[in-house]
Symmetry: C2
Subunit: 261 residues, 2 copies
């Protein structure tokens, strides 16, 4: 949902349509055309995903229950995405708000609700759903925090994005909020000067990384990821699941939060 799939080496859809506009020498602004086409394609995918669920030939009662989860998921996601926009616009500064964005945008949408959807379609009971929430919400937050760390410290050959890409974009993450919370005036000045500078140099990246490490923000986020992972795995082990389901979900948790820096 961040409008980019550059991590897989492809330009985002709006860029591809903008390129098409340019290469055909069409009339008007290529960027506006790209954006319009991308929004329509997104709308089409949103409609098609719903259509695929509705026409899946599942029994009517399960489909009905599944649709309730699906509807709630979509609403939460749009809310989370808006909270994210708002947090970026406000210039961040609140760890609590950044974590709330992670919860709605990533934890619910990426992990908890997809598990609920599968569970409900398979006819699982409330205990399984509760177990999935206990596992999915902390794991989803940990996943987002790992993404935040990789966006600053990640190896470009692994992430597929330039080093410090989130810094250049000026992303207001929990990691950045934690750094600012503990920053000295001099460190805060470094953040103000460099964060969000589209022409940020390798030296600027290094200085920002230094602040994030020296303020203890990196250590704090890594500690939080560990705690959240513990919570997720504890809930997973207590959930009434078959052994192989538990095993696969434990592997998923590790893959979703691995350092790989």
């Amino acid at each position: 949902m961040d409008g980019s799939d550059t991590r897989r080496g492809l330009p985002a859809v709006h860029r591809r349509f903008a390129s098409l506009h340019r290469s055909e020498s069409w009339v008007g602004d290529p960027e506006a055309f790209g954006m319009g086409a991308a929004v329509l394609l997104g709308d089409l995918c949103l409609a098609w995903s719903d259509e695929m669920l509705s026409t899946s030939d599942l029994p009517a009662d399960r489909l009905l229950a599944g649709h309730q989860v699906y509807d709630q998921m979509r609403t939460e996601l749009m809310g989370g995405q808006y909270l994210d926009l708002l947090e970026q616009a406000r210039g961040g500064g609140s760890v609590e708000r950044a974590l709330r964005v992670a919860r709605y945008k990533s934890a619910k949408y990426t992990i908890e609700k997809p598990l609920h959807l599968g569970a409900v379609l398979a006819g699982a009971g409330q205990e399984v759903l509760d177990g999935y929430s206990g596992y999915g919400l902390p794991l989803g937050e940990a996943f987002q925090l790992r993404d935040d760390v990789l966006g600053v410290f990640g190896d470009p050959s692994v992430t597929g994005k330039p080093a410090g890409d989130d810094l250049r974009e000026g992303k207001r993450t929990a990691l950045v909020a934690m750094a600012l919370e503990q920053a000295t005036p001099a460190q805060a000045a470094v953040v103000r000067r460099h964060l969000g500078d589209p022409h940020l140099t390798a030296d600027g990246v290094a200085r920002l990384r230094e602040v994030i490490e020296q303020t203890g923000a990196l250590r704090r986020v890594e500690g939080l990821i560990d705690e959240l992972m513990d919570d997720a795995l504890t809930a997973l082990h207590a959930a009434p699941l078959a052994g192989d389901a538990r095993e696969v979900l434990a592997q998923l948790a590790i893959a979703a939060t691995a350092r790989a820096t």
Copy 2:
């Protein structure tokens, strides 16, 4: 679906969010914030409209049939909107393509498919659906053509938009395509010079209107609207409908295509 409700005197959603951004002195580009928020709100409405249908408590078999119409409508609409984007980017020039845009974007989405949806939810048979297509498709095209005429010749006190607004936006409509088809080199030069000029003056509007009248495009579009209305009303009278339904739809047809210039 054109991102604007200025005809009702309100700024479009993206403008309102951009204003909020400005008045709060937030970080970043107000226009980008407005656009992002508007896209999310659109996605939310798209999801909610579907949720409203799914939770309408209608009998399962009718809901299923209704959803098929609804799904097809959404896909056609996104296709029509993209065809419109494409036609604007290509700089127009084809009457046939402009009419195809009108068919997908307006005729199907605005009239035919909503009638089908209601019919199917009410349990109507194929003959009613066919009657609605016979009425809805030509009426919908006539509605779009009337909108095109109003965008050029409409009275601002009636349309709520500045005079010649479509000309300033450079909209590539069937009306404009017809004018270009018959234009002399001098008339074509007037169109090239003025169409899409955001600072178009009242004098420029008058010159473009003159070309659209003198090339016979206005007369041709009015003739086409009349033909389409005839087709729509003929189909309406042949459709197996109760008398009051027929009466209401005849009134709708008149309201949707009235000159009001």
